[in-house]
């Protein structure tokens, strides 16, 4: 009901002003913080956070009472000449998620980016950019016009890139520049498609376009170019060259924003394009291509994550894998003739995005605290951290468990919905990938926990006391992700009644044990690092039995890691980008 507006919403609806506020409030915060500077930057941010939360909550409250999406005509000009803001169920869910994650990050960053009386560089930039990212994301979630979405996308990039290089080291400057140039390439491709669509239909309004669009060759070329550009900004494998160094090099709070929220912006525009602008057009084959890239992302991201020496890079590669997971919904949502068939699959994909946003932000924050405590984040030297920073490790563990798809997490509900769609549409191969994805996630979480929990009797020297604010912020987000499956989603997303996961019982126990056991096996077979229990005798017996398997696993891992190195070279990534664009275009043309 909320996804397929049928009537022409040519007028502002009641409550539409909330959409305006969700853009105006953070943007005003940016301007105010910029002018006031000094110690006021954080103050402005803390004034905007509760306001933003209230606006998101009000939107959630008012949407079910409206019989369609919330609409606001800016300047009272109706499209196609004017620009409309539209808030449907998807927008409301994403607005609320963003408000939640930003608030937690603001609490987390209070101490790290504490402004002094005399203005200092990093806090000034951080708080201004945090608010800017909020405003940009909100605009993306409710923008009703493809060009407004382009401006918002650029706003997001301009706010995200300086966050990467806040510490000014050469390595992070390089990561930021790579990110910026590749992201710009992505947005130009998006703009190219936008130009073609305007030339074809004389409007960029999403609802008007969805009525006028037809399977013309030029429209399909436009869709392929726009999708590819957005994939580059979302860092879907093999277009991920910029993501690992950027997400791993930034300060913890910034990494949480980048990994949790920023990549969801371009992902959301892909949803708009495929589900709202041209729902019948992309075709079965193109959706299979997207999900295939997603599968490759899961395998590459997870295996390379297991090969990382540093915890932050491991989580960055985990983001790569989770982004892949988000694209599994595309083939499940459309039937073989390309028509939108299953709203559940779309709901599942969006829920996955929401649970990843919360869990991954929590994990990056927790790792930030661990890094501060140890002065490093080498995975093999984590022992003793369980005693020194129990809260941080707990937040990390809960975030990881939520990501694995253990009930009642959001990821578990998402997985159920997607599995159901896979069964209904007879695409059993994606069900296999969905199950394997959970195990791969479990593999790197188990690996880190095994190292952190091994020898917890050892006491280690840590620097400084734990920050309670930071631990609480991370823990709250992780818990949130873990409990998302219990939220009543049906006013906003087409989640059928009765899919809410049972927390107890045999079924949920198997859902817990299956990924964990599978993950442990994968971790043992694929991780090249000496195991924390390597000295125990039972382990040695086991290890000698599994030696040939493990050798094969290591060889496989090495192969994957090497290919990842090659694919992250700039020319290779560029060529992959063009190949993806041409393949998408060819598949779409063939389908129509």
């Amino acid at each position: 009901m909320l996804l397929h507006p049928t009537a022409l919403e040519a007028a502002t609806t009641t409550g539409g002003f909330l959409l305006v506020l969700s853009i105006v409030v953070p943007v005003s915060g940016v301007l105010l913080a910029f002018v006031l500077g000094d110690r006021y930057v954080r103050l402005v941010a803390f004034a905007v956070v509760p306001l933003g939360l209230a606006i998101a909550a009000a939107t959630l409250a008012i949407l079910p009472q409206s019989d369609g999406p919330l609409v606001y005509l800016l300047g009272a000009w109706p499209p196609p000449l004017g620009v409309a803001l539209r808030g449907d169920g998807l927008s409301a869910v994403m607005l609320a998620t963003t408000a939640l994650v930003i608030s937690a990050i603001a609490v987390f960053a209070t101490t790290d980016f504490c402004p002094a009386a005399a203005e200092t560089r990093a806090p000034f930039a951080f708080w201004v950019l945090l608010l800017a990212i909020w405003g940009a994301l909100n605009t993306i979630f409710i923008g009703g016009d493809l060009f407004t979405l382009y401006v918002a996308l650029e706003l997001l990039t301009f706010a995200a890139v300086p966050l990467v290089s806040l510490d000014g080291r050469a390595e992070t400057l390089r990561a930021a520049l790579r990110y910026l140039i590749f992201a710009l390439l992505g947005s130009v491709l998006y703009l190219l498609g936008t130009a073609l669509l305007y030339g074809l239909y004389g409007t960029l309004d999403i609802v008007l376009l969805s009525r006028r669009v037809s399977a013309e060759a030029a429209a399909l070329v436009a869709a392929a170019l726009m999708t590819t550009g957005l994939l580059a900004k979302t860092a879907l494998f093999p277009l991920h060259l910029w993501l690992p160094p950027a997400h791993a090099g930034a300060p913890a709070a910034a990494s949480a924003i980048l990994s949790g929220l920023v990549v969801k912006g371009s992902f959301f525009i892909i949803i708009r394009l495929w589900f709202n602008v041209m729902p019948a057009l992309p075709g079965f084959a193109a959706t299979q291509l997207l999900a295939t890239m997603g599968t490759a992302a899961i395998v590459f991201g997870s295996v390379v994550a297991l090969w990382q020496e540093r915890l932050k890079l491991l989580i960055a590669y985990s983001t790569l894998a989770q982004i892949g997971y988000l694209f599994l919904m595309f083939p499940l949502a459309f039937d073989a003739s390309g028509r939108l068939e299953s709203d559940e699959a779309l709901a599942g994909g969006l829920l996955q995005a929401v649970s990843h946003a919360t869990a991954k932000a929590a994990m990056f924050m927790a790792v930030g605290s661990i890094y501060v405590a140890l002065g490093h984040d080498r995975i093999t030297e984590l022992r003793g951290i369980a005693r020194a920073r129990p809260m941080s490790l707990l937040a990390f563990a809960l975030g990881g468990i939520a990501l694995m798809g253990v009930p009642p997490s959001g990821a578990s509900l998402a997985k159920d919905l997607l599995l159901q769609a896979a069964e209904e549409s007879g695409q059993w191969w994606w069900a296999v990938v969905l199950q394997a994805g959970g195990m791969f996630t479990a593999a790197y979480v188990v690996l880190v926990l095994a190292h952190a929990l091994a020898g917890s009797d050892v006491s280690i020297a840590v620097t400084g006391p734990a920050s309670r604010n930071q631990d609480l912020a991370a823990l709250a987000l992780a818990l949130c992700s873990l409990l998302l499956g219990l939220v009543p989603w049906d006013p906003y997303l087409p989640v059928p009644f009765g899919t809410a996961p049972k927390v107890f019982g045999i079924e949920s126990l198997s859902k817990l044990l299956l990924p964990v056991l599978g993950g442990a096996v994968l971790a043992i077979l694929l991780s090249p690092w000496p195991h924390p229990l390597a000295s125990s005798t039972t382990w040695k017996a086991l290890a000698s039995a599994a030696r040939p398997l493990r050798r094969a696993g290591i060889e496989f891992g090495r192969l994957v890691e090497r290919s990842d190195d090659v694919l992250r070279q700039w020319p290779m990534a560029g060529i992959s980008l063009l190949v993806v664009a041409l393949l998408l275009a060819a598949l779409m043309l063939a389908a129509n």
């Binding site: 105006v24 930039a125 407004t148 706003l155 030339g199 004389g202």
Partner: protein
């Protein structure tokens, strides 16, 4: 074939040649010069396409200020390490060339397949021009029909400033951007810097003012003002302001700030966010544009000046 067509084909060929030169020439500085020439000629194409507003923008911002930016960077990077070793192998370049040509070919096909008669919003924009009292339809689109985009784009400019400033070293924070220019007070540059700005400011303001009814507007005018200011700075007649200056920061947010205030006024008192009351539409839009031209001039100038490098005292 008419003379106009011949001219267009020659223009397109020259532009294409410059584009190839820009990509293919080994030396970076030559490539930059090629691109600046390309940008100026593209402005001519825009005139031929009957889009004088865009031609002015392209010449002032794309060709002019963008050219200064790229040339300055090329000069500062002259001693950068030769990266010839990193040049990808022939096979990779061949693949990239083949794939890029395929994309270009797909684009040509898409352009040729565009519908006839083409869809257009020109009649709609004309029909609703009464609401603003301005005769330049491009200004109407920018300031009224799609005011949200314009406002957000001002925030993009502001974020670019924050991004550039965030690259300062910590001790230089709050200081002045760019190196201090010491030019010969009796030299050519100083002479030009005394002579040109008075003319430039008049031209800039004229272009801005005429933008209400004729081609021109805040962007184009702001770019001219910015280049005049830069000339004065480069001649050493004045210095860039410290980034901690409250007045400077106020100017940098004046454009989007006033836009927001007027917008919120429309939300609270009028029919909608960013709606102008009929009687006040023209003065309000012109007021926002005055704030915007200041903001644009300051922003463009500071983006060219770069990150703060010198602490305030020196």
């Amino acid at each position: 074939m008419s003379i106009a067509t011949v001219f267009e084909i020659v223009l397109a060929a020259v532009v294409l040649g410059l584009a190839i030169w820009t990509i293919a020439v080994p030396e970076t500085y030559s490539a930059t010069v090629g691109f600046v020439a390309y940008g100026l000629l593209v402005a001519l194409i825009w005139v031929r396409l009957d889009a004088v507003d865009v031609a002015l923008t392209e010449a002032a911002i794309g060709g002019g200020l963008g050219g200064v930016l790229l040339l300055g960077a090329a000069a500062r990077l002259r001693n950068a390490d030769p990266t010839a070793v990193e040049t990808p192998c022939k096979l990779v370049r061949l693949c990239a060339a083949a794939l890029s040509s395929l994309i270009a070919a797909a684009l040509v096909a898409a352009i040729l397949l565009l519908p006839d008669p083409a869809p257009t919003l020109a009649p709609a924009a004309v029909a609703k021009a009464w609401a603003t009292g301005l005769a330049n339809p491009v200004t109407n689109v920018l300031m009224a029909f799609r005011a949200m985009d314009t406002m957000l784009e001002k925030v993009v400019l502001l974020l670019a400033i924050v991004g550039v400033w965030s690259l300062a070293s910590d001790p230089a924070w709050g200081g002045r951007p760019g190196p201090r220019h010491e030019a010969d007070p009796h030299g050519v540059l100083a002479f030009l810097a005394r002579l040109l700005p008075s003319v430039g400011i008049v031209v800039g303001i004229y272009i801005f003012w005429t933008g209400a009814d004729h081609p021109g507007g805040a962007f184009q005018g702001g770019a001219i003002l910015a280049s005049m200011w830069l000339l004065v700075v480069m001649a050493g007649l004045t210095d860039t302001p410290p980034v901690s200056s409250r007045r400077l920061r106020f100017i940098l947010v004046a454009g989007p700030g006033l836009f927001l205030v007027v917008g919120i006024g429309g939300l609270c008192l009028g029919p909608a966010f960013l709606a102008y009351p009929l009687a006040l539409a023209k003065p309000l839009i012109l007021g926002i544009e005055v704030a915007m031209i200041l903001t644009i001039a300051a922003t463009l100038g500071l983006l060219l000046a770069g990150a703060p490098e010198r602490s305030e005292q020196r």
